[in-house]
Symmetry: C2
Subunit: 580 residues, 2 copies
């Protein structure tokens, strides 16, 4: 286990083994051939590859963003070298079957590999993230032939994937997608329409690009029930260039290494698309990809914040400035800034956010594994439902709090942090996308309140609250008592919101949706902090420094963010219960 600028490896191992009990996975049939050693080897390979091939061109991929030159999009060559190595090492297929050439790793371990690439260079790593998600989508809902034709080359890292959903008039509102698909005689479809913000929509990194496109078959019902999913490759299986044209590159605030494109499908009337699954079920399929993408977005947000935290921490230990508060002697020796209370507070806030968010995202991945590999059907369903409830939180909470952590990193570095000589401003700019794409925070809040909390009568939420109480009950720590109180407040606020909507006062309820989402998330992250505390006694004696830092961080989180969330939930409840 070597130290890293990307992540605290001791923290990652602690979360996997002691908090999320990845050892238990060896007992499941799918992972029977794995061991601690195979997990660790995959993670160590990812760390090394991320440090050697992804980290070095992080700044360059921002400075020299992809350009359209001589009829083609040019991405810096370092990105191709990194992605070729990524694919060559098998990371595109890390969670796929051995039979498919995959590593058959649990999702939680696959993501424990991905964290390194996300932290090192999100612009380059995104091509992989999108490809993995697109391949999973075809595997889940496409035909065996589609999988052989399109999925396999993606697993091998030769072809890359995209998700082409957004249109100029249809962003948050996918119901308004207007791209049309007309059946052709050979069983394929002809696609016509315009997409915007398609990440990786064009590049010179892979042999082919497989677009997963939402479109309407002529005559389909309006709204979300008339949307179908198509595979639209840039190059057709017979080697012909498909009628997909780049209409323009979009220039972003950050995350510049990943192209963001405007694409025209079928301008020449000859864009071939292949229907995935059945007509009009496309949005339901796409939600699988979006849910996977949302966990990954949460994790990217986490890792950008995490790396910024590690950078700020190292800087603050090194940068000498000022004297301890109250020192009157001008000749006294100056101290490192991590001795100043305000800086220590900022570092602790960062640590609480990024380590809490990492626990949250890995817990979500663990739920995904449970939903697929637990023996018991009811337990699998419970994991599936819990993941559904938590997905908007996993996507949003890190996007809010780890972005704040990046803001704090800039502040700790001061004037230096504001310059492009240090990575913290780029980490901030890159992270600023996460509250927007794959459903804005506002859309996630609507999903949580309108779909996940209200419609199922609160059953999954009740399971969550029960789990939280089960963690807290046997613990003697005052933090456990605070969390029990917080859960109760969360339940009361949830009930008040539900009643508010039930009484037809939807405006008022949705006014609070985003702050409810954030505070809900803080209770869940508080739970994961308590689970960390309860796991500390399992550590070796030589982890005492690590353990006491974890305890101090948890206390800080409970005193500040969890306390704020309790207050906010109380305020929401009060407003929903008021007659106004």
């Amino acid at each position: 286990m070597t130290s890293s600028v990307l992540i605290d490896r001791q923290d990652l191992d602690f979360l996997l083994r002691h908090v999320l009990d990845t050892d238990a996975l060896f007992g499941r049939e799918r992972f029977a051939e794995h061991s601690r050693e195979t997990f660790d080897a995959a993670i160590a390979t990812a760390q090394r590859m991320a440090e050697d091939l992804f980290l070095g061109h992080y700044e360059k991929s921002d400075r020299e963003e992809p350009r359209f030159e001589n009829g083609a999009v040019r991405v810096i060559p370092e990105a191709r070298a990194a992605l070729d190595a990524f694919g060559g090492a098998g990371f595109m297929a890390s969670s796929h079957d051995f039979d498919e050439g995959g590593m058959q790793l649990p999702h939680v371990v696959s993501l424990a590999c991905m964290v390194h690439f996300y932290a090192a260079n999100v612009g380059t790593a995104s091509y992989a993230m999108l490809t993995i998600a697109a391949a999973n989508l075809i595997q889940a809902f496409g035909s065996a032939e589609q999988w052989q034709t399109f999925g396999r080359p993606m697993l091998e890292g030769r072809w890359f994937g995209t998700m082409a959903l957004t249109e100029p008039q249809a962003g948050s509102s996918l119901a308004d997608i207007a791209t049309m698909a007309t059946p052709a005689e050979d069983g394929s479809y002809r696609i016509r329409g315009n997409k915007v913000f398609t990440s990786g929509g064009d590049q010179d990194l892979s042999e082919n690009i497989v677009h997963m496109v939402l479109a309407r078959v002529s005559g389909a019902p309006s709204g979300v029930k008339g949307i179908s999913l198509f595979i639209v490759p840039k190059v057709l299986p017979d080697g012909r260039r498909n009628d997909v044209a780049l209409a323009g590159l979009i220039h972003k605030m950050g995350w510049r290494g990943t192209t963001s494109t405007m694409l025209n499908f079928g301008e020449g009337g000859d864009c071939v698309g292949f229907l995935v699954g059945e007509e009009n079920r496309g949005l339901a399929y796409m939600f699988q990809m979006m849910n996977e993408a949302r966990i990954n977005v949460g994790l990217v947000a986490t890792m950008l914040g995490y790396r910024g935290y590690l950078h700020a921490k190292a800087y603050a230990a090194d940068r000498v400035q000022g004297r301890p508060i109250g020192t009157k002697d001008a000749a006294a020796t100056p101290v490192a800034i991590d001795q100043h209370p305000d800086v220590r507070r900022m570092l602790l806030t960062q640590k609480a956010s990024v380590e809490g968010a990492l626990a949250l995202c890995l817990y979500a991945a663990r739920l995904l594994d449970d939903s697929e590999t637990l023996a018991d059907t009811a337990a699998r369903k419970e994991a599936t439902d819990m993941l559904g409830l938590l997905t908007p939180v996993v996507k949003s909470w890190p996007s809010i709090h780890c972005l704040k952590a990046n803001d704090i990193a800039i502040q700790i570095l001061g004037g230096y942090g504001y310059t492009r000589e240090y990575p913290v401003e780029q980490l901030y700019r890159d992270n600023r996308l996460n509250p927007i794409h794959e459903g804005t925070t506002g859309i996630q809040a609507q999903d949580l309140l309108g779909r996940k909390i209200v419609t199922d009568g609160g059953q999954v939420m009740a399971v969550l609250c029960k789990s939280i109480r089960e963690t807290a009950a046997p613990m003697t720590s005052p933090l456990a008592r605070q969390l029990e109180k917080a859960v109760q407040t969360l339940e009361s606020a949830t009930a008040a919101l539900r009643d508010c909507i039930g009484a037809g006062n939807t405006e008022k309820a949705y006014w609070h949706a985003t702050s409810f989402l954030e505070s809900f998330g803080s209770v869940v992250v508080g739970w994961l902090w308590l689970r960390q505390i309860s796991a500390l006694p399992g550590l070796d004696a030589d982890a005492a420094v690590f353990a006491s830092a974890k305890e101090a961080t948890a206390r800080h989180f409970f005193e500040t963010e969890l306390a704020r969330a309790e207050w906010e939930l109380g305020r929401i409840q009060q407003d929903c219960r008021s007659g106004r």
Copy 2:
């Protein structure tokens, strides 16, 4: 009065006339020749000039940041044209005497002019801001000859000024400044040292650059009591080039139109500096410039947020997306996004922050006028002291909350907001400097807690609280009652912090310094919102829409940010009173 993308002119006029009673200034000798018409004419000229000459190259000044080419720094020519016009119209001298060629405007009106330039193009306007502040510094503490030689050309806009404080090892800790000054036989000094982050430290915009440099005279005491202030021009009065060399340009996250430089003074052993005032009193002098700069930083932060708010508001009224919450019919007509509760909430939060911050900054400028032009000595001193107490708040609160407003603007524009096709991401990047320069938020918090609150025994704070209560007492609005409660909580938290420090528990007290500063600011801004509400009845009947929007915004501010501040102050008090 024409509408503007830079500021709501109705809001600005309301604040000046109805909330801050600028009419009262005509009764003072200095402003006796002024009238509403002369004030309005100056503001209208500023608005027109900012829109015509500053706004147009806002994006370009970011994209084509200043470069070092062929031995000189090149700034885009549009900046020079804009600043030439600015100087030509007399804005460098807007608050100076008629005799000096100035407009003799009150500071509050001068700043009401400046807001337009700050909103339109902070990168270009900063050269003016620095020049005005440097000229004021020479006027206050320099000799008559220095004023003639260096100050006058700055007022005329031919020479620009800088403030050269920070050194590689001395940022927040000015006590550690190491630049040396050695007396020469002609009465001038020879300067030797390195400065970093000097804004406007080199450029091709003005005939000369006048650096206001902090340095130590050989043999001076260590610490802040051994710092002297020098005028160090790029070109000496006799036309020779002074020994000031550009060591490098610093590349920033934003605010790119203003050069940020590393300067070497006296590499060739022949850098001539002219002492301002007396030796070893330099830091005290510089504080005048810093205090002026701090008000301007608050105002810049405000205006970047304000313009972002206006942009987001216009976008949200125009962008059609989605249907009202609860609409089941997929064929229902989509609505503009400002109909969605979450977007309305975000817009209201922006409005509360930027209009509140504008009131705060203009109130500070009004205090500056009072401190200079009130007839009564005691009243002048009270204004001076109040401004001193509020300066860290004026600098920081807008830097926190109007930056958040810029973040919200990006969020409202969604994917578009994240692109460089819209100004909101640049406004954010530009604003991100404000919590850092001229003393970070942490430094301001230390100033408020350690100097402004504790050392004077709380006398000025008591005056502030009395003023707040005087506003609230006659009002029947529930907001007035909430503010009275908030002031009491502020007083209790302040007392607890003071006792904590008194008991030697400085670590704990300073742990809370930044959040105390922010919450203190929210109470003060709450007061200014209440003052706005109390001024609404003075408006004409045709301002009903304006007035009801102000009321709704004040309510929102009290329900969210002021309530949060009360909670936070309670938490601080509790922790300070606890035995831990």
